[in-house]
Symmetry: C2
Subunit: 246 residues, 2 copies
DNA sequence: CGGGCTCTTGACTCAGCTCAAGATTTGTGG
DNA sequence: CCACAAATCTTGAGCTGAGTCAAGAGCCCG
């Protein structure tokens, strides 16, 4: 979180300028914006604005009317759904470069909340959808991302409905590792930005079960816990087998 | 299933003709094709062809390269994912009017299998994606359907991760009822096209638990089981409360 | 009308939950 | 930099909802 660009600098770099903020954005190459070239990106810059949230702050309310989309620049975000009595299911975690929102939809369908201090780049719904009309390849890119979200959701349904607690923890660690590697981070020393409660709500478990399973993997030397919520994956092979019930 | 149009008639009505098959298609108004007017639909007709599958037949293999998309005309279809040891999770059921396939994706991500005798209308990937370039409103429609799938997946993650067996069965019956009503069928007398095993694999339960919970609802007079796998919803209110844990 | 399904029901087991302490980490003010 | 309160995490003991195993009841369909 120490690398979050202070808001002041962001504000002075507000988009719309020829020399757009986007061109020096640290997630430019990884996010949906990479579908636009250096000239086209100016149009996106022109309709974007940045915002920072503290850990725990709500970014979008569940069922709220969609008015803006967002791109995560820095931080970790969770998407969740609630039952009337307070039971929670986290449907996904988002990381830098990830897109938030459903194109051509009326309403949000999940809570969107900052897990850590988070910096996002937002676009008004109309402006972005208007931009899509003129750039079919951008539409295709966002359609692709939407499909990717669906694939991840399907994979998670398999986990929630059919995997054991041990398999769930294994799968979770591998997912974080894979996503870290996509971002260019070290896949063997992963940072757990979220607490046990969020992990439990993501895996359909209780915090006690999460804690016990992690302790067990530690005892078995499959993982090692370091300072600053770092998990070292000692034995990726073992983790992979365990995640699918071998 | 008695209303399935015999293949012979279908073949003679093959699309491409001015007076397209689509214009007399029984799911025309409900499926993605409704985004096209009576002239435009001719283009879709020209690239479509029909096919029938028997119960249990595979329509698309998991992880297979996408070469065709499909629209369900008649029957019930299941989407599922498997673990190496055979555990199965059904990620969704599809009904007449539903679209199958991920636009702008490389591969399928689930098995697609006929639950009952099923009739589909298929389109070659390239042809349909080509059509999308010329009809942005069709793209928007399919994007909307993709979002709807994602919303349903999120809802199901909440069910799989956080609901009790009783709540799961209640939610399942209400889902079938809602989908039946969208199709213009009676929402209070729903047809269970799938067996207990498929219900169990959809809800993350065992067949015994599914059977016990259904029996319990029957004893409590919330539902009544009729001939031909019909479930009568006697008390929709009770079902609704029970589905969310009231 | 009989063989092979699927579905139901019962008895028992167990993975993961609940409840309850402690231990560790984090944040805060002096 | 330390003390100490609050929050989070770990661990233990016992419980329970759903799973497993097993037997019997319906119900197609030839």
């Amino acid at each position: 979180m120490s690398e979050v660009i202070p808001l002041k600098i962001l504000d002075s770099a507000r988009c719309g300028a020829k020399d757009s903020f986007c061109n020096q954005c640290k997630v430019r190459k990884r996010s949906f914006c990479s579908a636009l070239d250096d000239v086209e990106i100016g149009e996106l810059s022109a309709i974007s604005s940045q915002k920072t949230y503290h850990a725990g702050e709500t970014i979008f309310e569940e069922a709220a009317k969609i008015s803006r989309f967002a791109n995560i620049i820095e931080g970790t975000v969770k998407l969740s759904k609630l039952l009337p009595d307070g039971r929670q299911q986290i449907t996904g975690f988002l990381f830098p470069g990830d897109f938030v929102g459903k194109i051509y939809s009326e309403n949000h369908t999940t809570f969107v909340e900052a897990v850590t201090k988070t910096q996002i780049c937002t676009f008004a719904q109309g402006s972005l959808e208007n931009l899509l009309e003129r750039h079919p390849h951008l539409t295709r890119r966002l359609f692709g991302l939407s499909n990717q979200s669906l694939e991840r959701a399907e994979e998670w349904m398999l986990l929630l409905g059919r995997k054991t607690a041990r398999e769930k923890i294994g799968s979770f660690l591998l997912l974080l590792s894979q996503r870290a590697s996509e971002r260019g981070d070290d896949p063997d020393n992963i940072h757990l930005a979220m607490g046990r409660a969020d992990i439990a709500d993501y895996l359909g478990l209780t915090i006690e079960t999460v804690s016990r399973q992690i302790s067990k993997l530690k005892t078995e030397q499959v993982i090692r816990l370091g300072a600053g919520n770092i998990v070292h994956l000692n034995d990726r092979e073992a983790l992979q087998e365990l995640a699918e019930g071998a």
